[in-house]
Amino acid sequence: MQPIVLTIQKQEIAKWLEKLLETGEVIAPGAGHCGDVIFSTISSPAQVLWDFENPLHPPKQFVLPQTDPIVAIKRNGQGHEVEPIYDDTRRFLFNVRSCDVKGIAFLTRMHEMEPADASYLRRANSLTVISLTCSAPCPLGFCVCSDSGPFLSGGYDIQLTDLGENYLVEVGTEKGEAAVSNAANLFRTATEGEVSLRKRLETAARNRFGQETCHFASAMRRISTGRVEDALWEKISDWCLECGGCSLICPTCYCFSVKDRVRDGDWIRCRTWDSCQYAAFTLEASGHNPREHRKERMKRRFFHKVSAQYYVRDGTVGCVGCGRCIKVCLGTAHMPAVVGAIRKGKWHE
């Protein structure tokens, strides 16, 4: 669709949120315990944070929950009845950052690939993503390195930019259009001045990223041509405590396990988050494990994330530069550190 660019006065935002609350669940970053910022379902516009650091726990849980019931299996005489479980609650994901918009778009592209994942898509299609651009880099973010921020040119349903008195409202999809149309009186078409201010803000934000970048290109060359020595993987993997946090927290990771829950004599088949860094992830029924050692699992993870093979298939590296793995790594083997090590062929030297 043709992009629509609107503005809304800051004081009118609450009214818009009230309207959205009437039509579905609104999820936004809010205050957690002791100053934490967490995505949660809100009941009032006042709960939404506007000046915040991106929550550590990503919003991917709203398209791909950690425990996701997908099929109900019931006894029926001698046989069984199988009924898919869908979650198509209408949801608005508000004030999500550019990196996370890219993450959700990445996941949706993966789940659209044949065979398409109906459970995922029903939930994702019911979700309207309303993002808030970043006027400054977050302390550990490197989204500029993977074209995932600080502003986006697509992938969002609606993109908000703080212009001071107003928010610029870029509507990118029909879902986005629907979210503004039921409060149409709150919005007006943006002026040329406002659109060019947004461009200036984007340039300013990009310029504020320092030298702290993640050099995917040179790492990709090395990893795709087998020029990373096993000894290096072994060294890096000594600094990984196999917590799995990097993959659980990653906006683009979707590895899962399947497990049945018994409930009242029937079964609920659930998809659950899993991590390729867990030893038992590739454990086979025979007891054989093709990736028994940490170094093999680590090599596999980064091959999937930054090799040319996957770049060609996915059109991007498997990283949105959100920097969460730096915060969550229970070791020192997070994305920028490992990419740096691959590029230099050295680790902690």
Binding site: E25, G32, H33, C34, G35, D36, V37, I38, S40, T41, L56, H57, Q61, P65, Q66, T67, P69, A72, E83, P84, I85, Y86, D87, D88, T89, D238, W239, L241, E242, C243, G244, G245, L248, I249, S257, K259, R261, T272, W273, D274, S275, Y278, A279, A280, L283, G287, K327, V328, C329, L330, G331, T332, H348
Partner: protein
């Protein structure tokens, strides 16, 4: 079928190891769905280990106890709460009236409130000091050794302190696996240039990061600690102010280590420890016969004392306790010889305080430890403990429980102990109850109810308070907070933890008494285990089997490795080095016969590359397969033959 959401995000404390991490449990429509990390939690700071990330799984997927059960005609039948409580009260009263003894097991998997009430039930209700927890048998020597030297059983540093250490001395029990959060602190320190010295018998992950790995045989840790003590004294690097002002027994120590064998590596390590402005000394339970582990711990604390690290803020010693609330269970007096506050049971002031508080006279006879009283009591109340899975002699514990006249189990999960129970009282898991846990560094933190307990299960503190009332013990609690208020009176240190810290913050730390008394110095004795006739040793590897803990065994994600290992090796195995296997003419999977002074056993072997010749290890999970050989020892000399 469609599911609208109703998300809840509840801050709580990790129930696994004793590091004391915090996170949010996520629930949707009254069911747990996941875990979210917290950036503001002072210990975990946004980081969790694999166990923490899967903390929601066991309460959600596990075999849960949903209704009270009473054994009739050999099978457990569901009954009402009133019936179950009447049954339990009647049976235990009958046993007491018949002059038979009763025991109570608390648990490092239960909250402080539950443990406190379990202790109160035993002492005030049953008039017995037979109260303990199974894991205590593993960590008691560590705690006792530290107490012998410092007069304190509490550790002197926090996990965050480790990160700014210049030198770290680690007695390995595979820290990366047992305490991943602590391992992270060690890694952070090493990354910024700290020197890590490990003492252990295998090439662990931490050993591969170390500047110096002092490899020893199982049970040989003491020899190395003695060597380090000798190194410090030989080089004249003891902290003179500490030694002169705070230490007793210095001359005796000099004499004791005078003839100790000391390698060049030990001297180098001793120098690093003594010269560091900030050092962290971390100790996991060690193996050894008889009193050896306690003596090793005392020598370890002595090393910290003479190098001055016990007197410096941010420098000091940390005992690596295996289970989340070991410290809390000790603090609540879940020990035969300790009252709340870990005060000796004969301490007059503590006795008086408790008698005033409880309105009951305390039992005067010394109690037995868990391993012993399991063999002698007729009635047993088990709170969230599972002796066959935890105690070193698991099978013997199981047999003892099967002999009980009345076995009452309070648990959230179906454990092997539940299978032997005469009455089962279902209680809420950590995800469904209110209470506090105390981490190994002394942080008291809340667990919060995220969902309702399943079926008719009730919060453990309520059930224990009801049992107390039925045994004429004064209780008037309307919440877990009320129990904590009483705890603050029974164990005054807990009075320093304000309710606001617990409710609005992430909890508080039990302040240590700043004026430390004298340190009493000890070297450890070194017993020769092997002889020419029996040149090899067999040792239990590890001090706890997470694979049989319900929080792991019921988690689909966490149980995979453990289950697979048990399926692949139904007869267990012992590990030996390649050289030994070649000399014996055996290969992986072949059987060997092990003979010790206690008895013999035939087990398959596995070969590993990082063991010294002459050392055989049996994983803690498979210890029962060589129970005849090890008996009560954690390490013993064996003869190995092809079977």
């Amino acid at each position: 079928m469609s599911i609208p959401s109703d998300m809840l995000t509840i801050p709580t404390t990790c129930p696994f190891c004793a590091c004391g991490c915090g996170f949010y449990l996520l629930a949707n429509k009254g069911e747990l769905v996941g875990v979210a990390p917290s950036e503001t939690h002072p210990v975990s700071r946004g980081r969790l280990c694999a166990r923490g990330w899967a903390a929601h799984e066991a309460p959600l997927w596990g075999s849960r106890l949903r209704e009270p059960l009473v054994k009739r005609n050999g099978t457990l039948e569901s009954v009402s709460w009133a019936e179950a409580l009447d049954h339990v009260t009647g049976r235990i009263k009958d046993l007491i009236d018949a002059g038979k003894s009763i025991g109570v097991l608390g648990s490092p998997r239960a909250t402080n409130e539950e443990n406190y009430l379990a202790g109160k039930l035993a002492r005030a209700g049953f008039q017995t000091n037979n109260v303990d927890f199974s894991y205590h048998s593993i960590c008691r020597p560590l705690i006792a050794g530290l107490e012998e030297v410092t007069g304190e059983y509490a550790c002197s540093i926090s996990l965050n302190d480790i990160e700014s250490s210049e030198t770290i001395l680690l007695i390995e029990g595979n820290l990366a696996k047992t305490h991943p959060r602590a391992a992270f602190s060690v890694m952070k320190a090493v990354e910024t240039g700290a020197r890590l010295i490990t003492i252990g018998y295998t090439r662990t992950q931490m050993a591969s990061l170390s500047s110096l790995c002092l490899q020893t045989a199982p049970g040989g840790e003491g020899e190395v600690i003695n060597g380090l003590l000798a190194g410090v004294l030989h080089l004249g690097l003891e902290d003179r102010i500490s030694v002169a002002g705070h230490c007793e027994g210095y001359d005796a120590l000099r004499r004791d280590v005078g003839a100790v064998k000391m390698t060049e590596e030990m001297q180098r390590a001793a120098e690093w420890i003594a010269r560091a402005k900030r050092a962290s000394l971390l100790m996991a339970p060690t193996s050894g016969q008889g009193d050896q582990p306690r003596k090793d711990a005392a020598a370890f604390a002595t090393l910290a004392a003479i190098t001055g690290h016990l007197n410096r803020p941010g420098s000091g010693l940390l005992l690596l306790l295996g289970r989340s609330n070991v410290r809390g269970a000790c603090d609540m007096g879940v020990a035969p010889d300790r009252l709340p506050g870990y005060q000796p049971f004969y301490d007059g002031r503590s006795q008086q305080r408790l008698q005033d508080l409880w309105g009951k006279k305390l039992p005067s006879a010394r109690g037995l430890d868990a391993e012993s009283f399991l063999q002698s009591v007729s009635g047993l109340i088990v709170l969230a403990d599972d002796p066959p899975s935890v105690l070193p002699m698991g099978q013997r514990a199981m047999a003892a429980m099967e002999r009980m006249e009345s076995l009452v189990v309070l648990d959230a999960f179906v454990t092997p102990t539940v299978g032997a129970a005469h009455a089962v009282l279902p209680i809420a898991s950590f995800a469904e109850t209110e209470g506090t846990l105390t981490s190994m560094e002394g942080r008291v933190q809340r667990v919060r109810a995220t969902t309702d307990p399943p079926g008719e299960a009730r919060p453990g503190w309520q059930v224990l308070a009801e049992l107390c009332a039925r045994f004429d013990v004064r209780v008037s609690f309307s919440s877990a907070t009320d129990v904590l208020r009483e705890i603050a009176q029974a164990a005054p240190r807990y009075a320093r933890i304000g309710q606001r810290m617990l409710d609005e913050g992430w909890g508080g730390t039990l302040a240590e008494d700043s004026a430390r008394g004298k340190f009493v110095l000890h070297a450890t004795g070194v017993a020769a285990l092997t002889s020419a006739e029996r040149p090899q040793v067999l040792a239990r590897d590890g001090a706890f089997d997470w694979g049989r803990d319900p929080l792991v065994s019921f988690s689909p994600t966490l149980s995979r490795d453990y289950q697979s290992q048990r399926k692949l090796f139904p007869n267990g195995f012992v590990e030996m080095c390649k050289q030994d296997a070649d000399e014996l003419g055996v290969r992986a999977g072949w059987q060997v016969k092990l003979t010790s002074v206690h008895g013999d056993a035939v087990v398959p072997i596995q070969v590993r590359t990082d063991l010294k010749p002459g050392v055989l290890l049996v994983p803690y999970a498979f210890r029962d397969h060589v129970a005849n050989v090890l008996c009560t020892d954690s390490v013993t000399a064996v003869k190995v033959e092809q079977a």
